[in-house]
Amino acid sequence: MAKTAPEALLSVRDLTVEFATDAGIITAVDAVSFDLQAGEILALVGESGCGKSATALALLRLIADPPGRIANGEIHFRDRELLSADDATVRDIRGNRIAMIFQEPMTSLNPVYTIGRQLGEPLQLHKNLRGDSLLAKCLALLESVNIPEPRRRLQSYPHQFSGGMRQRMMIAMSMSCDPDIVIADEPTTALDVTIQAQLLELLQAQVANHRAALLLITHNLGVVARYADRVNVMYAGRIVESASADEIYRTPRHPYTIGLLRSVPRLDQPISEKLLPIEGQPPNPLDLPSGCAFHPRCPLAIDKCRAEVPALTRHANGHAVACWVDVRD
């Protein structure tokens, strides 16, 4: 993972995000590096609190400051470096070249404005659409995400939409300016399981239609099996394993990834094995264990794991893992 792939649409290097809390400084994202290729679906997976949202928000410089701060790193998008770019450059990319879908459909839309007004804003801002052409485009957008009676629905307020419909609207809005990248931060977590797959399918179809890359964030490794091309597994602010989705499912190499796979039902397989939750709790971000942060929960931990942080090391097939132990032994 260390060397820059020059063809990548988005290259993140050593991204570090900190939050100042009363109890001390939390390093929510710790020197994270990854690449996103054009048109690719990249999953970012890990337990709640491991730094997925902080990573996603940092990509668009949306970390709330205070308490948060991007302490270090580089984000290369096309020919720009976003962390050193001026505000106007970043604003021009937000919602336009890189769009974001948030986790909380209930609170991510403004309750006092209509769906139509909120849906049309990126188009107004970035494409200068007004009046009839804006209306026509908004209608087409709602239709494209299968919202019935789009003309009437543009007049609705968010509280008149179900959670699933709001996320559909969010998907439509994220596509409105034909972005290069869509970041979806747990887009289905807040929703009923029965519509989660439906929504992910819609999202997959939409990014394919618009030839956009997708950074799909989830805590459920089972969910991404069908959709992702590559998977990054995150633990305590670091990427601990990175590989193609196939490799991750067939030959996981980090004990944490193996634990995650055993703990979740998988959409692509019948439930043959029993689900085993990973023992123990995620570490306290204010007081991370020494060495590999996973060692207190790791069944394979050796002395070295307690002493030294393993670096993310690339092996064959672009499979990278940060672990002192070779699980194949």
Binding site: A64, R91, D92, G95, S108, L109, Y113, Q118, H159
Partner: protein, 318 residues
């Protein structure tokens, strides 16, 4: 929206009915018969036949429900009785004094809004800056400044030391607009100080809360500038609790008017009420109670309607 307003209106009417009944009951249970007290000087109250005649004349010998019906009928027809203090028709007294007090209320509310809302917005946007500290400190002073002290200081500064405004008195607007405005500046300022400080504080904290909401982050993720984020997504939801505060402040202005109209010798409803209380002028006090309640109910109704207008979620809940 129509249904929502209908429900609010029905609530207001129910409360008004309760107030009217209470006012009637209070008037009956006040120790000492009001009419007897009023007659004490002119007739011989030791003569039972005289008492009987007077009671009959005022309908006091009839059953309570009949008395209530008669009283309510008269009140609705505009017959609010005669003031014991001035001998004037009570309704006429209200009609004369209402515009004076209303002018003070409107002036106080306008200036408290004109200062309180921008100050609160400034404080929220420049959080923890010198401007924010100035706003928060000013708001605390405004809320806690005793009005009598403020009035005395202002009269001393701007009527005695620098004679820009008259120290007291009132000229109706249509008699002499300029003199009228000069006369109401100081009392209006004192009357609105509390509300201005309160508003600045509420606007600031409400806006700060809104700025931390997820939908504001969504607006930022769309690419809006910070100014556009605030104008397009934060101000309107931030005003929801502020509307309530303006309404409550309006209701509270009357307590201030009692005092300020006396200090500045302004012939409005506040001073009339104070006079009525000192003179045990029951017909005026009774009418005042109803007018005060009506004022609060009307403002609440207006606040509810505005609420429904700003927040679409309220409309459905009804």
């Amino acid at each position: 929206m129509g249904k929502y307003i209908g429900i609010r209106l029905a609530h207001a009417l129910v409360i008004l009915a309760i107030v009217v009944v209470l006012v009637f009951i209070i008037a009956r249970i006040i120790p000492g018969d009001a009419i007897m007290a009023a007659m004490a000087g002119s007739v011989d109250l030791h003569d039972p036949s005289v008492v009987e005649r007077v009671r009959h004349q005022y309908g006091l010998d009839q059953s309570i429900p009949v008395q209530f019906a008669v009283w309510l009928g008269e009140f609705l027809r505009g017959d609010w009785g005669t003031s014991i203090g001035t001998g004037q028709k009570v309704l006429d007294m209200f009609v004369q004094r209402l515009p004076v007090t209303l002018e003070l209320f409107v002036g106080a509310t306008l200036w408290s809004i004109a200062v309180g809302i921008p100050a609160g917005i400034l404080g929220a946007l420049k959080r923890n800056s010198a401007a924010d500290i100035a706003v928060t400190t000013g708001a605390i002073i405004g809320v806690s400044l005793p009005p009598f002290w403020e009035a005395i200081v202002l009269i001393y500064l701007f009527a005695v030391l620098l004679p820009i405004f008259p120290p007291s008195g009132y000229v109706p607007f249509f008699e002499h607009p300029l003199l009228n405005l000069r006369a109401v500046v100081l009392p209006t300022f004192v009357l609105g100080t509390h509300a201005g400080g309160l508003l600045a504080r509420y606007v600031r904290s409400s806006l700060l809360e809104v700025l931390g909401q997820d939908y504001v982050r969504t607006a930022r993720a769309k690419g809006f500038s910070e100014a556009a984020v605030i104008a397009r997504h934060a101000l309107k939801p931030g005003m929801i609790p502020v509307v309530t505060v303006i309404g409550l402040s309006w209701g509270g202005l009357l307590a201030g008017a009692f005092f300020i109209e006396v200090v500045f010798a302004i012939p409005g409803l506040g001073r009339m009420s104070v006079d009525a209380i000192f003179q045990k002028d029951y017909p005026v006090m009774q009418a005042m109670l109803i007018v005060v309640s009506l004022n609060v109910l009307l403002v609440n109704l207006l606040v509810d309607i505005l609420y429904g207008y700003i927040d679409p979620r309220v409309r459905v809940r009804g």
